[in-house]
């Protein structure tokens, strides 16, 4: 047997280009369905795991999928906002606790998630370095977000302005990094967490500026039609520090401030059912969704697509196998004299056939092993691949 293996090996090595092409073909035939299956399975697990862990999600009426992707995975476009009063409404219902989420803003690399400290307890997020935010303008970064931005506690990160050509829009806020979270392998790794009030500062709903009541600053106050307003020359702060934090103040009713979603944590199943029932009215401007249901629906759709891709892969595989069979047949025809020589010098027909079978088997095994390796790599990269898919979605 070792002699046959040796002869087959020598043949495959000598015809290394042909062998490589055949091995690659086999690899693709095996890998496409297996790898795709594994990728979809991993993706489905990752997608549904986080959704399963989130009981209910409140958001403005619109696409439930967009709401879930934006609020749980910090992907997709920002959904329409809802009033903060809706968060209080959940809380005041006595049926659930509510965690606000405001994901409208970004830094250069990550989504800024305006929320409350309850979010960290709910997701089981632990600090790797530093401390939690406890003042306006402070932020805590997920592990990957910190790595991407190259920051550690003590550094600062800037929010991205909405539109650089809109001088009345949200200005960038320099935020102080006070903590970095342990990696979790979830979208939380890529987020910059701030208190929802800080998100509103970025929104422009709160601001801080130089004291206009001091005698030295009187020229900063102007009188317009009997109303006293501050002069545009008054210095506006784009960084919140212990020195100027007291000058920051909100304008308007906090109940009317925006959030993009609220996670509702019902006390029990009955409370969950009752709470969902309250949002079924036609006049409701918000929707309460079960993220698990939304994601399962998405996964079903992905599985449907997978079936078509698998079918295409199988057809492609059959065509490739037929081509390979033709290649081997032609190869045997070309080697007829060589094979006859083997028989003339003492090889049995069975042994010569075994030799050819060993060569074919070698190609099949090499292709299958390579495909197996690729499937393992796909499993290993499953999370990243899922994120890529989510970005496309």
């Amino acid at each position: 047997m070792s002699d046959l293996l040796y002869l087959a090996w020598r043949y495959l090595v000598y015809h290394r280009v042909t062998t490589a092409v055949l091995v690659c073909s086999i690899t693709l035939i095996v890998y496409l369905p297996a790898g795709l299956n594994r990728l979809v399975s991993e993706s489905a697990n990752e997608l549904t795991a986080r959704a399963e862990a989130t009981p209910l999600l409140l958001g403005a009426k619109g696409s439930p999928l967009e709401l879930v992707l934006s609020s749980l995975y910090f992907e997709s476009d920002t959904p329409p906002s809802l009033r903060y009063a809706e968060v209080n409404r959940i809380q005041q219902s006595g049926l659930a606790n509510a965690i606000p989420l405001y994901t409208r803003f970004q830094t250069s690399h990550s989504t800024i998630v305006g929320t409350s400290l309850d979010y960290f307890a709910f997701r089981g997020l632990k600090l790797d370095r530093g401390r939690q935010f406890d003042m306006l303008g402070e932020c805590v970064l997920g592990a990957r977000a910190a790595r991407l931005a190259g920051v550690v506690p003590g550094d600062t990160v800037l929010s991205k302005p909405d539109d650089v050509f809109d001088i009345a829009g949200a200005y960038p806020l320099k935020m102080h990094v006070v903590g970095v979270l342990e990696p979790t392998g979830t979208p939380d790794d890529r987020a910059v967490f701030v208190d929802v009030n800080t998100a509103w500062v970025i929104e422009g709903l709160a601001h801080g500026h130089a004291e206009v009541n001091l005698p030295a600053e009187r020229q900063s106050v102007v009188r317009q039609d009997g109303t006293i307003v501050s002069h545009p020359a008054v210095v506006q702060y784009n960084e919140i520090t212990p020195e100027n934090v007291t000058s920051f103040h909100f304008h308007g009713d906090p109940d009317s401030f925006p959030v993009t979603a609220a996670i509702a944590l019902p006390h029990d199943e009955k409370s969950s059912t009752l709470l969902q029932g309250r949002y079924l009215g036609d006049d409701e401007v918000v929707q309460m969704v079960r993220p698990a249901t939304v994601m399962r629906h998405l996964v079903r759709n992905v599985m449907d697509v997978q079936r078509y891709v698998l079918l295409a892969g199988i057809l492609l595989g059959i065509a490739t196998l037929a081509t390979m069979a033709l290649v081997f047949t032609l190869s045997i025809q070309l080697r007829r004299r060589e094979l006859e020589t083997m028989i003339k010098i003492g090889g049995t027909r069975r042994r010569v056939i075994s030799l050819i079978a060993t060569e074919i088997l070698g190609v099949l095994v090499a292709g299958t092993v390579l495909a197996g390796g690729l499937v393992m790599v796909t499993s290993w990269l499953g999370s990243s691949a899922t994120r890529l898919i989510l970005q496309w979605v």
Binding site: D3, L4, Y6, L7, R10, Y11, V13, Y14, H15, R337, E338, E340, T341, M342, K344, I345, G346, G347, T348, R351, V352, L355
Partner: protein, 224 residues
């Protein structure tokens, strides 16, 4: 001794018909088989080697009645007793010189490849001037070198009978002389019987005997 008596052979679907009333080759003799193309020279070699089986008659090689043997017995006899050299060398391009010489051991399950075989292969290669090319692919060799590799392969198991089908047919005069010298040196040293098909009449004086295959009544039109 090789004896062919009342041997008849024809290829299926062909009008070729070979009839050998009697042909005897003494042990240690060197015999040239001559005749025009299609006269049955190669067929006679294949019959003696047990590659082809006659439809009737007796073929006895070294006292073994090959025509009465089964396929595996004829193959086993061929491996142990007969060395074959072909006109177009019939080497395996994807193997090195050494691996080509050792091929009879690797392709035959009856023989276990041993170090003695490797040593023998190296010795044969040295004898024919290929000692420094053992690891080289045969496709990198000249025609003369290839034929020398083919001869080494035929001699690996030290067969008492050597059957050569136009061993010098594709060689230039210099290589032809060298290959013949190798063959005849070996035959004289080991008292080996040599049957060679040849079209080259200049070589005939080197042989003990010449057999013209035209007399074996091949029915097809012989084309020179």
């Amino acid at each position: 001794m090789i004896v062919l008596k009342d041997v008849e052979f024809s290829y299926p679907g062909s009008d070729f018909r070979l009839q050998v009333p009697e042909m005897i080759v003494s042990p240690g003799a060197t015999v040239a088989l001559i005749g025009p193309s299609g006269s049955g020279k190669t067929t006679i070699l294949n019959l003696i080697a047990g590659i082809l089986v006659p439809s009737s008659g007796l073929i006895s090689t070294n006292a073994v009645n090959l025509s009465a043997c089964g396929d595996s017995a004829r193959r086993a006899f061929r491996v142990q007793n007969i060395g074959l050299v072909f006109q177009e060398f019939a080497l395996l391009e994807h193997l090195s010189v050494l691996d080509n010489i050792l091929l009879p051991c690797r392709i035959t399950s009856a023989i276990q490849l041993r170090q003695a075989h490797r040593d023998r292969a190296a010795e044969l290669a040295r004898d024919v001037g290929l000692a420094d090319k053992l690891r080289r692919y045969v496709c990198k060799l000249s025609q003369g070198e290839r034929q020398r590799v083919a001869i080494c392969r035929a001699l690996l198991l030290e067969p008492p009978l050597l059957l050569c089908d136009e061993p010098t047919g594709n060689l230039d005069p210099a290589n032809k002389t060298q290959v013949l010298k190798i063959l005849f040196d070996y035959v004289s040293c080991h008292n080996t019987t040599l049957l060679t098909v040849t079209h080259d009449y200049e070589l005939l004086p080197h042989f003990d005997e010449t057999i013209d295959c035209r007399r074996f009544h091949a029915s097809s039109e012989a084309t020179a």
